[in-house]
Amino acid sequence: MSKVHDTLFRTLSDPTRRAIFERLCREGEKTVGALTAKAGVSQPVVSKHLGVLKQAGLVRGRHQGRETHYSAQLGALAPLIDWTSQMAGFWEAKFDKLEDLLKRMDQ
């Protein structure tokens, strides 16, 4: 497994951290305070998780006034997408359609 995969899996293996990341994906940008309100853990713990997510490139912080707004960086997940199996499925489906078409075509 590549180092990039390793980092991503390790980062997302913690349930609390994953929940924070999923929430940012689902609901968009949030401050530490807003995230803490529903995380079930203290603010320093949330901050620590955000730090790890940032290290992995999964989260980005944007400073506004005295607050930092965190957002999910979906592009960082790209290495996890298994391109080959997705494309093989795509072409198998296309070949099915091609087979149907050939049956309908004149010789």
Binding site: L74, P79, M87, F95, K97
Partner: protein
């Protein structure tokens, strides 16, 4: 996650069709027939011809004919440009036709090159579901 990651991969799908190579070739190279099984297109069987494949999901693939050998080989680029690095794709699709005792073997090879982490995704309001739905749409809904 600072260094860009590049990966080259290739997908091969093969199937034997109980039809003559000539017929299969028409399905692969005539725009109105290509549209029926592949995608809407403005394909023309000339090396260097640039065309687009338009997917039902709204995405457009940029293509250029690289090689044509009637009833044997057809090759074109298959590029998808997207602001989101995860969707960016540069690839070459090659169809090879081989006559068999009962029809024609069609081999499709897609050699892909994708650049990852070129630019972090700005905004990022999309959820997991939307993320995977899009991928699904891009890669399978067409089928």
């Amino acid at each position: 996650m600072t260094a860009p990651v590049s990966e080259t991969r290739s997908v091969v799908v093969e199937r034997e069709f109980p039809h003559a190579a000539d017929k299969l070739w028409r399905a692969l190279t005539q725009p109105h027939l290509m549209q029926e099984w592949l995608m809407k297109n403005d394909f023309a069987p000339q090396v260097g011809h640039k065309f687009k494949l338009s997917g039902e999901w709204g995405g457009v693939l940029d293509c250029e004919v690289l090689e044509i050998e009637p009833k044997r080989t057809l090759s074109y680029t298959w590029d998808f440009v997207h602001a989101h690095a995860a969707y960016n794709l540069k690839s070459v699709v090659t169809f090879t036709l081989t006559p068999t005792a009962t029809g024609t073997m069609l081999r499709m090879e897609q050699a892909g090159f994708r650049t990852d982490q070129k630019q972090a995704f700005g905004g990022a309001h999309a959820g997991w579901k939307q993320f995977f739905d899009k991928l699904d749409m891009l890669l399978t809904k067409e089928g």
